[in-house]
């Protein structure tokens, strides 16, 4: 009896949990269903399971609606930017965490203060600077901006971790005749791999989803990244809900697939900047 009462008292609570789960997960399942249905089918009943699986819509989106181009642009920019920011950031973090030199505190403060610079303060002048350097409307320009804007956070995450590596290891390595670069390459990087992985995840998600810098710095259709491509397609084909849904799926699938396998790592990555 008491057991039964306890269940009854928990019902509203469990109901809330189920409702919130539907509210967060539901929209994605809905879009996944719509991405496999044609627009007329969707308008007949927006909330139906796909009866015929129209996989050809993905092929269609990829070629005729240019999503293939957008996807590769996003991939190229994001992968290169993440790789660069990780290497450059790891080097800087290693230096700040390991060496004592004049002006270290000032430099550290300068770099980390980049985390609180609002994007509006950068975006207008970056637009001018990119025009000056002829990097406006180029994927290289966008990539450099991405590296610059993500640098502070990357250094912040990695430096905290690198500073915890025991100094003895470095002293031993120096005794064995390792050069500065070898110490970085063969000690800091392998030991800090977990932190590096976290930083990579975080940067990847942020940049894959980035919109503001891309919308200001790119204009050609052939250069658009996925978020811009979807917005552009949406502008031209407001009512083609089925095709937009397919485009949305193309944008979220890589993230969802990674999430399915590495959910813990990705959660840790996304929250790394907030707590340390």
């Amino acid at each position: 009896m008491a057991q039964w009462l306890a269940y009854l008292r928990r019902t509203p609570f469990l109901l809330f949990i189920v409702l919130y789960t539907i509210a967060t997960g539901g929209p994605f399942l809905w879009v996944a269903c719509m991405s496999l249905r044609t627009t007329p089918e969707i308008f007949a009943n927006p909330y139906d399971l796909p009866t015929h699986l129209h996989w050809d819509k993905f092929a269609d989106a990829w070629t005729t609606s240019n999503y293939g181009t957008y996807f590769w642009n996003s991939t190229i920019v994001v992968v290169t930017a993440v790789a660069l920011v990780t290497v450059i950031g790891a080097m800087a973090a290693h230096c700040l965490a390991r060496y004592r030199f004049r002006g270290r505190r000032v430099l550290r403060f300068l770099i980390l203060s980049g985390m609180v610079v609002p994007p509006q303060l950068l975006i207008l002048s970056l637009f001018q600077i990119m025009l000056d350097y002829r990097l406006y409307n180029s994927l290289t320009g966008l990539m450099i901006v991405y590296v610059a804007t993500q640098l502070a956070m990357t250094v912040y995450i990695l430096e905290g971790f690198f500073a915890q590596i025991p100094q003895d290891l470095f002293d031993a390595a120096r005794m064995d005749g390792y050069s500065d670069f070898e110490i970085f390459w063969r000690i800091t990087l392998p030991i800090g791999l977990a932190a590096i992985f976290t930083a990579v995840t975080l940067n990847f998600i942020i940049l894959w989803n980035e919109f503001l810098y891309a919308v200001v710095l790119l204009t050609d259709d052939s250069k658009r990244t996925l978020p811009l491509g979807i917005m552009h397609f949406m502008g031209g084909h407001q009512l083609d809900v089925g095709m937009i849904a397919t485009g949305l799926m193309i944008a979220i699938l890589p993230v969802i697939l990674l999430y399915a396998f590495f959910s813990e790592t990705m959660i840790r990555g996304m929250t790394a900047g907030a707590v340390r």
């Binding site: 789960t21 450059i88 800087a92 290693h94 509006q120 303060l121 600077i129 250094v155 996304m270």
Partner: protein, 285 residues
């Protein structure tokens, strides 16, 4: 030597642009390298004769105050739900976190459909409940548009706050919670007198993060409403963007002035929040 590449990129693409924005803010800058020094004229216009700017400030303020409080309180609530040993907690956690990983463009488009007058799920549920009269175009109506965008923003970020709170909750000393239980303290009292004071550092962190994010909100508004209808969702960031790239004034000076003013306001508030909230922290322990 290890620091060099980072410093070069940093100075060229962060420090220099920031300084250049400050320089821009006291000039009028038109295409074809026309730059004219105007002193504080931009700031004077901004404060005296720009109703749209003040409308945008009002919207952003509402969005930030309500949003930040709801974000942090809601995140704490969700974290507590999972903290009290509910079954399948891991599954709920993973699902609740998914929106955090999605881009504003994806989230925005999905929610434009959810709010759709004819076939959006919000209105369908309302009609099904027999409340068909209160069904309306949520994003097309100036009185509800800002709130509709705010709900979407909360939906996206609640999972993030939840995860951070959950991590903090698990780090709490179990003896204290056990002692509270022994004292037969009700769960509301336990929450207010035991858990929240112990979570204060996390709380302050999340308040500041959420505050910064909402003061600078651009993407979601841009995707969902573009600032309309009738400026009802115009935020400072969307206004800066519009003045710089959409209006045919083609002047980068004036929007730079807005960006400078707004960034200073953000920094001042962040400094105040950290100082004020962490000082109370010291007094209490």
């Amino acid at each position: 030597m290890f620091l060099a590449p980072a410093l070069v990129i940093y100075v060229a693409f962060i420090v220099y642009p920031v300084l250049r924005t400050f320089y821009n803010s006291v000039h009028v800058i038109k295409p074809h390298n026309v730059t004219e020094f105007v002193g504080v004229a931009n700031f004077a216009t901004l404060f005296k004769t720009d109703p749209v700017f003040w409308k945008a400030v009002g919207n952003t303020a509402i969005f930030t105050v309500v949003g930040t409080i709801a974000d942090v309180a809601g995140g704490l609530l969700l974290a507590l739900c999972l903290f009290v040993r509910v079954s399948f907690a891991r599954v709920w956690r993973v699902v609740w976190f998914t929106p955090v990983l999605m881009s504003y463009v994806v989230v925005g488009i999905i929610w434009v459909w959810i709010y759709d007058y004819d076939w959006g799920v919000v209105n369908i549920v309302l009609r099904w409940l027999g409340l068909g009269t209160s069904a309306h175009s949520w994003l097309g109506n100036p009185t509800t548009a800002l709130w509709a965008v705010l709900v979407t923003h909360l939906w996206k970020w609640l999972g993030f706050n939840m995860i951070i709170f959950l991590a903090a909750l698990y780090a709490l000393p179990t003896e204290v919670l056990g002692a509270a239980e022994l004292d037969n303290c009700g769960w509301v009292a336990k929450l207010v007198y035991v858990i929240i004071p112990m979570l204060r550092p996390t709380l302050v962190n999340l308040l500041v993060l959420s505050f910064i994010g909402k003061m600078m909100i651009f993407d979601l508004v841009w995707v969902m409403t573009g600032g309309g209808p009738l400026w009802s969702t115009e935020t400072v960031s969307t206004y800066v963007y519009k003045r710089a790239f959409d209006w045919n004034t083609f002047d980068l000076g004036y929007p730079s002035a807005i960006a400078v003013v707004w960034s200073l306001i953000i920094l001042i508030f962040v400094a105040l929040m950290t100082r004020f909230l962490s000082q109370r922290d010291k007094l209490e322990f």
